[in-house]
């Protein structure tokens, strides 16, 4: 009996000890959890205060632009606004996870940055006109209200706690941001949507498909079978940007435009085989023939990037010795077999149309730095970020051991773009 009691006491003590250990462990983990929460909360607090700080900076600089009269100062201020917008977007993105109301603010600041960058370039070239000044005034008002809303949100949590928890619960002051920007209470300047990657891009006209009749899904399947030689099945349709049918066959997939029945995308993900690489001429010839069979004629290889077993070749439409860079088609070729394993013609579909030959002045007056070793001069049409096209001279050459492509406006001979080729180890060349 005595022994049994001792055993019971030992059991009880063990249980008590384990319970105590559990309690200590739970306490420890709870403490660690709190510590992590505080750390993360501090990061969100920092993001909030940095966002407010930068918004204040943007507001201040917008007001200064309203007063500045010299093109140089206007450009500097607008460039600063663009930089501050980029920084602010990062902070707003950090805060956006817990509060959907922040998304319109993020979008607004991004578009404000795009617009400021556009105006900075314009200010330098031709100054700001009265209408643009008015638009900037409207934007200043929006930023001011945005700032007020953010500051009010901060007051809500100033008495303790962190901004992120408050955002999770929904800060009423931030609801105002959503109402203000997203519900049309404030008029957006029209031009703010003309920046790069604007909302309107999804509604872009597909110039190449203009006036072409609609094909059926069955025709799309037949087209794929005819072009690529195996049985394809209909797998759905795409309705954004370019209306397409998706047809598939094993590892191969093809997107065919509803208008005209053109192959706009092709992919063959089967594993290539072979023991030796084909030379680049053979790869380019294979890709050129592939495009010709799909109805993409007069295409010239303008850029080749080798990446392990694959080369990516960019083709551009060429007419009368002018390269039309907006009408680009990208082709992916297996280096062992020279078989085309991918093709993408979205830009061609959007941009290709019959154009008048652009005007090119004489190529005199092109200014290059001393020591620039000129290799070639090409007439071309290049796309701008604003969804327009300009005629340009492309000069390629070597400078300081690097390869450059420099673009000059065909009429004014002003430099409009510089691209540098970066050798990227075994992964081919990049152009930036």
């Amino acid at each position: 009996m005595k022994k049994e009691r001792k055993i019971r006491i030992v059991h009880l003590c063990a249980a008590l000890l384990l319970t105590a250990a559990l309690a200590v462990s739970l306490g420890f983990f709870a403490d660690r959890q709190n510590s992590y929460a505080a750390e993360i909360g501090a990061l969100y607090d920092a993001a909030y205060y940095s966002a407010v700080d930068n918004l204040g900076d943007i507001e201040n600089k917008l007001k200064k632009v309203g007063v500045a009269t010299s093109a140089r100062l206007q450009r500097e201020l607008l460039e600063d606004i663009y930089t501050s917008s980029e920084v602010t977007v990062g902070f707003l993105a950090t805060l956006s996870g817990k509060n959907d109301e922040i998304e319109p603010a993020l979008k607004f600041v991004n578009q404000l940055g795009d617009y400021s960058r556009y105006l900075a370039e314009k200010a330098d070239a031709e100054g700001l006109d009265e209408r643009e000044r008015e638009k900037l005034g409207e934007l200043t008002d929006i930023v001011e209200k945005l700032n007020e809303a953010f500051l009010a949100a901060g007051e809500d949590v100033a008495s303790g706690g962190n901004i992120y928890n408050a955002l999770g619960k929904g800060i009423t002051a931030l609801d105002g941001i959503h109402d203000m920007i997203d519900s049309g209470n404030v008029d957006y300047p029209e031009l703010i949507y003309d920046g790069p990657f604007s909302d309107g891009l999804n509604d872009r006209e597909t110039k190449f498909l203009s006036g072409k009749g609609t094909v059926s899904p069955e025709t799309a399947v037949e087209t794929a079978k005819l072009r690529f030689g195996s049985e394809f099945t209909y797998a759905g349709e795409g309705t954004l940007g370019i209306d397409t049918y998706l047809v598939v066959s094993g590892e191969r997939s093809v997107q065919i435009t509803k208008a005209g029945g053109y192959v706009v995308q092709y992919s063959d993900a089967s594993i290539p085989s072979g023991s030796a690489y084909k030379d680049s001429d053979e790869l380019t010839a294979s890709a050129t023939e592939f495009l010709r069979q799909l109805g993409y004629a007069s295409m010239k290889a303008v850029w080749i990037s080798e990446q392990t077993d694959t080369v990516y070749i960019n083709f551009a439409y060429t007419q009368d010795d002018v390269v039309y860079y907006p009408d680009i088609v990208k082709v992916k070729v297996d280096r062992y077999t020279a078989a085309v394993t991918g093709m993408e013609a979205m830009n061609y579909i959007y941009n290709h149309t019959e154009r008048e030959l652009p005007a090119f002045g004489p190529d005199t007056g092109i200014s290059l730095p001393e020591g620039f070793e000129r290799k070639s001069l090409v007439k071309c049409l290049i796309p701008t970020e604003w969804n327009t096209e300009i005629a340009a001279y492309e000069v390629s050459g070597e400078y300081g051991g690097d390869t450059y492509y420099v673009y000059f406006d065909a009429e004014t001979k002003n430099e409009v773009r510089i691209m540098r080729v970066i050798k990227n180890g075994n992964e081919g060349n990049l152009i930036v």
Binding site: L43, E86, T94, P196, L240
Partner: protein, 239 residues
């Protein structure tokens, strides 16, 4: 009769022996294991960083990249000094990262360098980060579906409604569940790497979609209200 004897009836003893004690044991062992796991992760994260005073080829690589992108104007000498510190902070600020001047895993991934002390074999370029997301989100999907997932990330980078970098988009809080559950850290296969590369070369099977979800598993009612523009495999894509 002391207090122990008072409460230690045979019934209590049985409960203690067969229910409470095993449960407590299991709980303690589990918590210890979880705790140890947590500590080892912390240690690894701390080891993998570059900061003031660091030097070597990785610092040189960091300086080269920051210089190429216009964040750094000093000399590429492989020494992490005050100018490199300022450049790293500038880079972090612009890219929405924690601004501390220390190149930890997140900053290294955004810069595109590999931190040698991390012990992992991955290359931290944007392409590789994108491939990791593709693998985590869409392994098992058809190849074109994997390219589409990568393209959605790139479309977000270009959209004014999202952050302006690949890392910013992928690590935007609550944007991708695989970041929250850690699947983002799985090593991608060659298919995912190829898909990321194809998307970065301009292939967008979605033509500008900004969202996708699996209609079978998605629980977010907001996203289900968006018009569907394309279905590939088990994912639907919307703008």
């Amino acid at each position: 009769m002391n207090i122990i004897e008072k409460y230690l009836t045979p019934k209590t003893d049985k409960i203690l022996r067969f229910v409470v004690a095993p449960l407590v044991l299991v709980a303690v062992v589990g918590l210890v294991l979880v705790g140890l796991n947590g500590f080892s992760a912390d240690t690894e994260a701390e080891a993998a960083s570059l900061k003031m005073g660091s030097s070597g080829s990785t610092v040189r690589e960091l300086q080269t990249r920051l210089k190429n992108w216009g964040y750094y104007t000093g000399s590429v000498d492989g020494i992490f000094g005050s100018q490199t510190y300022a450049a790293v902070k500038y880079f972090q600020r612009v890219n929405g990262l924690q601004v501390d001047g220390i190149v930890g895993p997140a900053t290294a991934a955004a810069v595109g360098i590999r931190l040698s002390s991390s012990g992992s074999s991955y290359s931290s370029s944007d392409e590789y980060l994108l491939a990791r997301l593709v693998y985590a989100e869409a392994r098992g999907e058809p190849y074109v579906g994997q390219v589409a997932v990568a393209a959605v990330v790139l479309n977000r980078v270009r959209s004014s409604s999202f952050p302006n970098t690949i890392a910013g988009v992928i690590y935007q809080p609550w944007a991708f569940s695989v970041v929250n559950d850690g699947q983002i850290n799985l090593s991608p296969d060659q298919n995912a790497i190829n898909a990321a590369r194809d998307a970065m070369n301009g292939w967008d099977p979605t033509y500008g979609c900004l969202y996708y979800y699996n209609p079978v598993t998605a629980t977010n009612s907001w996203i289900k209200q968006k018009p569907i523009h394309l279905t590939i495999g088990s994912h639907v894509f919307c703008a």
